[in-house]
Structures are given as C-alpha cells and as structure tokens.
C-alpha cells in the first residue's frame, strides 16, 4: 500500500448527504478486476449517458477532473461493503475524502487502501465546501502526521484519527503482515476457545 503523508490537491465540493457506494461504483462494475479501468467507474451513472457519452458532470471537466480531495456531507460511503467504491476513488486520483461522517465499512475499506477518510465537524465541512464553491479549483492541504487540514483561506483545522489507522496510512502497512506477528497468540487463543466450546467441533453438512 502506498503511504499517505501529506497531500495538497484540488478539492471538489459535494453537497449531497448520504452519497452511497452504489453511486461511487455502480454494482455492474464490481466484476471489473482492480486496475486503471476504475478511473472511469467513479460516479459512472452521473458521468456517462446510457449510451456511454460523457455528461457535463463536474468530475468530467477541469479543474475537477484533476481533483485529489472530495469534501462531502454526512454519511459519505454508506451502503454496500464493496471495496470497488474505494478502487474507483483511488484510480480517479482521490486520496482523501473529508466529511462529517462515513459509512463504517467504507471508512475501514479506505484505510486498507491508502485513502484517508478524514472527519471534520458538519459546520467545518460546510465552510470548506462554501470556500471551494467560491474559489473553484482551489486546493486544500492535508498533513496526516500533524493531523491538520488547511483550507483555502489558510485556516488550519485539526482532526482526530485513531493511532493505528494513522500509523498504517503513514507507513503504508500491510495488515496481514502486522497480524502474523501475533500468530502464536492466535493459535493459543484458538485452542483454548475450542476447548471451552466443544459443540463447535461437531462436523456438519450433508
């Protein structure tokens, strides 16, 4: 996973609350193998007509076709657990989504793919979006180590992030490798767990 340290990028404001993962990646694209094709998939049904022509949706046009940050409203990424929603954001070039809240599964999926799901208050997010509407194509800066987001006017907004999530993003850590350090603990746990629950050891099936 590519580490996330600092990011200065064009930020696109999305005012609609509850943008679900079906919008980020329509279901029919879930079967696409991970790769650059996902750039096209992001918000596909907004960006393309039914016969595959580009619409004038904001992500199709400069400056937002170069966006690296989305500033959204509450509950971004709610709905389906599809990680393809994160693949689509990532391939489009989005490395950070700022919102008042996220779907729980989506936030976890972001962290596993080097994408920062950054939580700021509803008022702060609304303020950021207002600035971005006024100054189209403006950039925001996110510094993960310092846990700050700097807005268009130079205002600095500190944010909270769980220490493990922060470390994994900063170092681009692979989760499986992290867990396998604890292989002995897992095996010991499993053996006493199974001993205490003998009914789970029954072979089932037809």
């Amino acid at each position: 996973m590519t580490p996330f340290t600092t990011l200065t990028a064009i930020a696109v404001p999305m005012d609609e609350a509850n943008l679900d993962t079906n919008q980020l990646c329509p279901t029919r694209f879930n079967k696409v193998p991970r790769g650059p094709k996902y750039r096209e998939v992001l918000f596909y049904d907004q960006r393309f007509t039914t016969d595959g022509k580009l619409t004038d949706y904001m992500l199709n046009r400069a400056p937002y076709d170069q966006a690296g940050i989305i500033v959204a409203d509450r509950n971004f990424g709610c709905g389906s657990s599809r990680e393809t929603a994160v693949y689509a954001l990532y391939e489009f070039g989005i490395r950070c989504v700022i919102a008042p809240s996220f779907g729980d599964i989506f936030a976890a999926n972001c962290a596993k793919n080097g994408l920062l799901a950054l939580t700021l208050s509803e008022e702060t997010c609304a303020g950021l979006r207002r600035q971005l509407h006024e100054k189209k194509g403006a950039t925001l800066t996110v510094d993960l180590a310092a846990q700050t987001a700097t807005d268009v006017a130079g205002g600095v907004h500190p944010f909270d992030i769980h220490p493990v999530r922060k470390r994994c993003l900063l170092e681009g850590l692979d989760d499986i490798a992290r867990t396998l350090q604890y292989q002995n603990e897992i095996v010991t746990f499993e053996s006493s767990y199974r001993k205490s629950r003998p009914w789970l050891n029954v072979q089932g099936g037809r």
């Binding site: 005012d15 609609e16 609350a17 509850n18 679900d20 079906n22 919008q23 329509p26 279901t27 029919r28 879930n30 079967k31 193998p33 991970r34 049904d45 039914t50 409203d73 509450r74 509950n75 709610c78 709905g79 389906s80 657990s81 599809r82 990680e83 393809t84 994160v86 809240s101 779907g103 729980d104 599964i105 976890a108 999926n109 596993k112 793919n113 769980h162 220490p163 493990v164 470390r167 692979d174 989760d175 499986i176 490798a177 867990t179 396998l180 604890y182 603990e185 897992i186 746990f189 499993e190 767990y193 629950r197 003998p198 009914w199 789970l200 050891n201 029954v202 089932g204 099936g205 037809r206």
Partner: protein, 466 residues
C-alpha cells in the same frame, strides 16, 4: 459489571488489543462471487486460507434466476458466468465449502447459512457483504466487511476492530394488522435516519422483537446497515433454538445440550448500560413504503409524498428535491396513487418461507396487473414453498416463479429494471440506479409487494386483507 450481549461475544473472541484496536477471533466467514477481489489480495500477500473448514462460499449475486437446469452453461453473458466460475475455482483451490450453482441447497449467503445451522448464537461471523448483519438474529456478532478485511480473515481467521458504541433499540407493544417485520425496520430507519446507528452495534429488544418469528428477526437485523449499524443483534431464545434444532451443521445430542447451556447465557445483563437508547411503540407502526432514494425516505402507505417547499431545513429541501426529481413524483401526492411497472419479491431481506407465505396470502385474492417476480432465497425455501403449493398460488395470480439468487435487489446477474421503470420491491436499498440504471425503487414488505402487484400501484395491504 453488568455486560451487554455485544460485550459478552466481543470479550469471548478477544485475542489481544494493540493501541486500542482489538484482534477478534472469527468463527465463520461467508464469501460470494465478488469476493474475487479478496482472493486476489490474498494471493498478492502470498497467503493461503488459514481455516478453510470455517469458510463458506455462495453463488448468489451472479446466478441467473431462470434456466438453471443447464447449470453454469445456462449463464449467457461470459463476464457474469466468469464470476461464478471463479468462485467455484477459488473454493476448490482453498478447500472451502461451496454452495455452488447446482448445489441442492444453493441460495443467498444470508439465507442459506442459518438454514444449514452454520449460524449459531455467540459466534463472530464475517461476511463479504454489508447485509451480513442478518445473522445477528441468532445472537451472533455478524460484521459485513470489504475485500481487504475479508482477505485478512481468510489469511488469519481474525479481524481487527475498534469497539463500537452500543445502542439498544427497544420495540414494545403489538404490531397492528397487516404490519410486518419489514415495516418495523423501515419505520425505525425513518425514525433514526440512515446514519442513526453509525459507529454503533445495535441490540434489538422489546416484546415486539421477541414476538417476531426467526424470519422476521432476520429481516430486521438484515437492514441494520441501512440505519448505519454494521452490526445488529438480538438475544437468542427458545424460538432460536427450535429453529436451529436438527439443521445439518447444528450440534447434535450431547453437543447440542452443551451449546444450549451456553446459549442461554447470551443476554444483556439486567442493568447493562448502552451508549444510546431508542424506543419505539410497535402499535404506531403502519405498513410502510419508501418514496425517495434513501431508506430513510419512508412513510406510512397512507401518507403523502413530502413537499420540499414545506421543509424549513434548507438541506432537507435540497435533498427532497433531488429525490423527487429522480423518482419523478409530485409533492403532496397520495403514496397510493404511485403507479408501478414491476414488482420484485425476493432478496436477503425478504425471500424466506414466511415472506412467501405472506405474499401468497395476498396473491390468492387476485391477478397481477404488472410484471411480478417471486425469487425465493434458497433452493430449500423453494422446495418448501412448492410443498405448500405457494408456487401454484403465485402462478395462478400471474406472478413469475423463479430460481434462487440476489436477482433484482443488486441487479448484476442480468435481472434489472429498464430505465425509468418503477418497482415495488421487498429488497433493502432504494438508492439511485440500484435495480438497474434509471430504475426507481419503492421498498415494501412481501405482503405489500403482492398487494401492489394486484393493483398496479402502491397499495395498503390492509384493505385487501379485510
């Protein structure tokens, strides 16, 4: 200390904590065709499946709902067929039990595992699908996860989690005539919002929940995610044990007795504290329908489409306008005047035998005036329905009786709405384009769906059942 049911299961699976994140031991993992992304990640990490006997795979999202006698060859589109073939190959390669396309017990990943007795109280269940919360109906801790977390479970049989908050939703009282579990969960989501339970594990409690059948409880837990809750669970009781008894993977004899002794301890202790409490009066819940593009856009069927102009909150006004434009509805119109093109009865929310019985009870009172599909949740549900003659009731009413799968809920197996079509659906999401590009979805209970089929518009089922 008084513990919640959630705490008890969490503590029993807690391997260790690192910087406030806990490693949980996983009992059962559930895969589907889209899990291909997790298998790719697993191979990239050069890992195998740690405990293949605890992993089960289901072909459900991509299987066709007709022409199943031909098995895999009956899938005309190569890319769709390939998803089913890939899962088969992965299951074979890693020694995972597969409920494949021609398995006599094939069906949806949230319907088959309980039927098979794979889901038991007190387990940690991980599924590569957000509706995994369904299995909380048995008093298990069931998380939906994405591909990376699922690959992690496959490689290590564990999952890193931060402890969520706890939220108890107590629904007391008696449900009214014609009101089903689906109405309960839709009304609840309308009440607390689609992010009402975000960051929380829900425990459902109260006399109305206890009075639900296991099928009804699964319907409620299934849509926890639509309220923002990754996990939704209920204490097991005698209904749970009666439902499980004798199923293929359920313990037998002495092991069953041992399990039972333990399962009976799986309740929240008196005095256990929850971070949030919500109470709902069952008697106030009406047959409910969604009018918009979010599951929280739900109202009693006797209501009217909201008028954005009447909204004082500017944000709500904008949101409602977007919803009305997409749904092509007029503000203030009676919900029962909404005309439909299609009806879909199926999905992991509402395709169990009780759902089909409820739909058939209505279907026998008339004839469908719009194209109506019934897609049972599993082969086992299908067999039972045919034994009871429900298939004949549906066919006589002009409904189509199809083969099990996710079908037009997730709309990727080739079953989907045409642009602009409007559908009353027993599924779980009314998101834009969910049932096909340009499709419009109204979420309803199975009985309400059948009523809609007979009338060609959203209908108060109570008037048909009178």
């Amino acid at each position: 200390m008084a513990l919640t049911l959630f705490d008890k299961i969490w503590d029993a699976h807690h391997v260790l904590t690192e910087e406030g994140e806990s490693l949980l031991y996983v009992d059962v993992a559930l895969a589907q065709e889209n899990t291909s992304h997790a298998f790719v990640a697993l191979e990239k990490a050069q890992r195998g499946v740690a405990r293949p006997q605890q992993v089960f795979a289901f072909t459900d999202h991509y299987v066709p709902t007709t022409g199943r006698a031909r098995g895999i060859d009956g899938i005309p589109v190569a890319e769709i067929r390939n998803m089913v073939v890939q899962l088969q190959a992965m299951a074979h390669k890693h020694g995972i039990t597969l409920f494949g396309i021609d398995n006599p017990d094939q069906g949806i990943m949230h319907i088959v595992p309980p039927e098979q007795g794979i889901i038991q109280p007190g387990l940690v269940v991980i599924g590569n699908d957000s509706h995994t919360s369904t299995h909380g109906a048995f008093g298990s801790l069931a998380y939906g996860v994405g591909a990376s977390e699922f690959a992690h479970v496959l490689a290590t049989q564990t999952l890193w989690q931060r402890k969520p908050g706890t939220m108890r939703i107590t629904i007391d009282g008696e449900l009214g005539f014609g009101v089903a579990a689906k109405d309960v969960i839709l009304a609840l989501i309308a009440h607390i919002g689609v992010d009402g339970a975000t960051g929380h594990a829900i425990e459902y409690a109260g006399s109305a929940i206890r009075a639900l059948s296991m099928e009804g409880r699964m319907t409620v837990c299934n849509m926890s995610i639509e309220a923002g809750g990754r996990v939704g669970l209920m204490a097991p009781d005698d209904k749970t044990y009666a439902w499980m008894d004798g199923r293929p993977y359920a313990p037998k004899g002495k092991a069953w007795e041992q399990g039972l002794d333990f399962w009976r301890s799986l309740t929240s202790d008196p005095g256990a504290r929850f971070d949030k409490e919500v109470n709902l009066d069952a008697a106030q819940i009406a047959p409910t329908v969604t009018w918009g593009i979010s599951p929280e856009h739900a109202l009693p069927v006797t209501g009217r489409v909201p008028d954005p102009a009447q909204e004082t909150d500017e944000k709500k006004r904008g949101e409602y306008q977007v919803a009305l434009d997409y749904m092509d509805l007029k503000p203030g119109m009676d919900l029962r005047d909404i005309r439909l093109d299609r009806v879909f009865i199926g999905s992991c929310t509402n395709a169990r035998i009780e759902d089909l019985r409820a739909a058939a009870e209505v279907a026998k009172r008339g004839k469908a005036v719009v194209t109506t599909w019934v897609v049972p949740g599993s082969m086992s549900v299908k067999r039972q329905a045919e034994k009871e003659g429900l298939d004949q009731v549906f066919l006589k009413a002009g409904f189509e009786w199809r083969d099990p799968g996710c079908s037009m809920c997730t709309a990727i197996n080739g079953d989907h709405l045409q642009p602009g079509e409007r559908c009353a659906s027993t599924s779980n999401r009314n998101f834009r384009n969910r049932q096909g590009p340009g499709g419009r979805t109204h979420l309803v209970s199975p009985a309400m769906a059948a009523a809609a089929a007979l009338k060609g518009r959203l209908t108060d089922v109570r008037e048909l059942l009178k």
